[in-house]
Symmetry: C2
Subunit: 212 residues, 2 copies
DNA sequence: GCAAATTAATGATTTATTCAAG
DNA sequence: CTTGAATAAATCATTAATTTGC
């Protein structure tokens, strides 16, 4: 009824047959990261459409790619941050009795293999699929009431996506977010500050995708 | 573009303005449950489209509704089953020493609070928005390697969706599923026997949905 | 009987995991 | 080892049931 009307636009890159997965170009990544830095976390359908259109100038791309990118980027940034927080946390414990300089050599068996190598540099280890035993786990349970800090000057619906000028407009938003809870004033906005929620699919143009 | 062409059929339910969420009719639910019973778990985009078209005869409905329905139904059936399994499991312990064989009554302190009241009937308590502290949790970690049993005679792509006559056609499918593993022959098709995976969004027709 | 008040279901979103291409 | 893609689990939010006071 309306499937073959929109001309050719997503029919390029038929380079090597099945193009199993999107490979973002440097420009595309740059722009996406910029948007992320601007606070975009969960772009709405319209935003995705818009972003996709813009990024299409730098190479083949579909709405779902943008969607997934934000999804993954957000999640992985969070993981990264949580890992660091955890490191800091355990560090606090390690350096526990720490008046001014101290000598740390308090806990006898705790130095054994801790120091700063308890969580060495493994920055992921089990983050990539493989063992799938949830590993050390915990971690996310540790942070339950820290994800407030929402900054009300992003996710402006369809407007000012690319303009990237931090005009403080204070949208108020007044959704149903708990007004309190976010006691701490200006936290460095960098992790999970979303507040826009939209459908979550219906972007791209139903490409068959013969998978495998 | 195509919103006001197909006469009155999707324009009913305009009862109380914004209809924030889909309320399936009895017929729709019946048909969906039938499809589920037939083994459909994660319908492909085409299947969703098809199902949606059929169900539209009984009231307003969109692709995403069908998608969500299967998603939720599958998950909740699983939950239900798991709960029962858990009950059965603990029952096994409770009735441990009993009929002809074994006495098993080894673990003394394990009877303490299991029974069938460990996870009483609270079925939600905190499921409705409010505390959101992940509550009791657990449960799902208990069953990690039980979801095999896939039956290769459902999910027939686009065909035989509604005809509902169990003609054994054996599609072979040969995707990338492990060919073995499903040793047991005919398992009662009822819980999580999917094997078709598809995009997962891009169904419905991008209804604006002005949300709030 | 009926309508406000609760509670149970369940539709819709978001987040966490997992898989596998590159 | 990184990360795009896909799915499952957890949540949130609104509607339908059900209960309760009148």
């Amino acid at each position: 009824m309306e499937s073959h009307s929109s001309d050719a636009e997503a029919e390029n890159v038929r380079t090597h047959s099945s193009v199993s997965r999107w490979s973002p170009t440097k420009e595309q990544i740059d722009m996406l990261e910029n948007l992320y830095k601007q606070g975009i976390r969960t772009p709405s359908t319209e935003q995705i459409q818009q972003i996709t259109s813009r990024l299409r100038a730098y190479g083949h791309i579909e709405g779902k790619n943008v969607f997934y990118w934000f999804q993954n980027h957000k999640a992985r940034q969070r993981q990264k941050l949580m890992k660091q927080q955890t490191i800091a946390y355990s560090n606090r414990f390690l350096r526990a009795s720490h008046p001014i300089c101290q000598n740390v050599a308090c806990a006898p068996y705790c130095l054994q293999r801790s120091g700063f190598s308890f969580y060495p540099q493994q920055s992921k280890v089990l983050a990539s699929g493989g063992i799938s035993s949830t590993g050390p786990l915990g971690m996310q349970r540790m942070f339950d009431g820290m994800q407030s800090s929402e900054h009300p000057d992003c996710n402006r619906e369809v407007l000012t996506l690319f303009p990237l000028h931090p005009t403080g407009i204070l949208k108020e938003k007044t959704t149903h977010q708990v007004p309190s809870l976010a006691s701490t004033s200006v936290v460095a906005v960098d992790e999970d500050g979303h507040l826009g929620n939209q459908p979550f699919f219906n972007f791209f143009t139903t490409e068959p995708r013969s998978r495998e």
